[in-house]
C-alpha cells in the first residue's frame, strides 16, 4: 500500500488528561480535568513500537502540539464524553458535567459568546517505510528468545 520510502503519519490525541474550561472571548476559565484511562492509546503505542521493532518502519520525527475543541452546550459536551465513557469502561464524568453547568449558568449573562473548551495536545509521529529488501532489524519473537550461538 505504501510506496517504497513512503511516509506513515500517526496523528492522535496524546495520552494526557484533557482540560475542560469555559472560553469567553480570549479568556478560558478552567473547570476541571478529565480522567481517561488511555487503553486505546497504549494499545496503539504498542502496535507502532512493534512495526518499528520488526523493521518495517522507522521513526523519523515526533511532534506534540496543543489542540482545542470547542462545543456550544453541555449537551454537546455530553456527546463528546460518550465517545470516552463508552470505551473500556472509562470513568463517568458526571461531576464534570455538573461543574460545567454551574460555571456556564454563572457566565451566560451578557452578550459575549460562551463556549466549552476541551484542551489536550496531539501527538504526530512520522514513520518512514524501510526498504523491504534490506530490513533494518526484523527480529521475530522466536529469534529474540533464542540468540544464535557464537561460532566455535
Amino acid at each position: 500500500m505504501l510506496a517504497p520510502g513512503g511516509i506513515l503519519l500517526d496523528l492522535r490525541p496524546a495520552s494526557v488528561h484533557r482540560r475542560i474550561g469555559i472560553a469567553r472571548s480570549a479568556r478560558t476559565r478552567p473547570v476541571g480535568v478529565m480522567r481517561e484511562r488511555f487503553e486505546d492509546e497504549r494499545s496503539a503505542d504498542r502496535a507502532v513500537a512493534r512495526v518499528v521493532r520488526e523493521g518495517w518502519l522507522e521513526v523519523e520525527r515526533r511532534l506534540r502540539f496543543p489542540c482545542r475543541r470547542l462545543v456550544d452546550s453541555v449537551d454537546e459536551f455530553r456527546t463528546f464524553l460518550d465517545d470516552f465513557t463508552g470505551r473500556h469502561g472509562e470513568p463517568l464524568h458526571d461531576w464534570l458535567v455538573r461543574r460545567l453547568e454551574r460555571a456556564l449558568e454563572a457566565r451566560r449573562a451578557g452578550r459575549v459568546r460562551t463556549r466549552i473548551a476541551i484542551d489536550g495536545p496531539l501527538d504526530l509521529a512520522v514513520l518512514r517505510k524501510l526498504d523491504a529488501r534490506a530490513p533494518r532489524a526484523r527480529v521475530s519473537r522466536s529469534s529474540r528468545r533464542r540468540p544464535r550461538a557464537p561460532a566455535a
Binding site: M1, G6, L9, E76, L124
Partner: protein, 98 residues
C-alpha cells in the same frame, strides 16, 4: 452540533512541517466527516479518504467543495480491509484512528 476542532489549524501546520504534500498520493485512514481531508487536499495532495462509518462518509461527500472534487475520493472501508492492492501511496495518514 457546533463542534469545532482545532480552530487555529495547528494540525495542518504540523503536517506541513513534517512532509511534502503537493502532488502526493495520500490515503487517509479514519477520515470521519472529512474535516482534515479537505485541509490536506488544499495542500495539493490527491487523497483517498476512508472510514468505516457510512454516515460520516455521506457527510464528508456532501461537504466536498467542487474545486477539490478531482483530488478527493471518499470510500466506506475498514482499515483492516483496505481493498486497494493495486494502488500505492506516498503518504498514509492515520487521523486520530490508530
Amino acid at each position: 452540533m457546533a463542534y469545532v476542532v482545532d480552530l487555529e489549524r495547528r494540525e495542518v501546520k504540523a503536517l506541513r512541517r513534517v512532509a511534502p504534500w503537493r502532488g502526493k498520493r495520500v490515503i487517509e485512514i479514519g477520515c470521519g466527516d472529512g474535516r482534515l481531508t479537505l485541509r490536506i487536499a488544499r495542500l495539493g495532495a490527491r487523497v483517498l479518504a476512508i472510514d468505516p462509518d457510512a454516515a460520516s462518509i455521506r457527510t464528508a461527500r456532501r461537504s466536498l467543495p467542487e474545486r477539490l472534487a478531482g483530488r478527493v475520493r471518499y470510500r466506506v472501508m475498514k482499515a483492516q480491509r483496505i481493498a486497494i492492492a493495486r494502488e500505492s501511496f506516498d503518504l498514509a495518514l492515520f487521523s486520530w484512528s490508530l
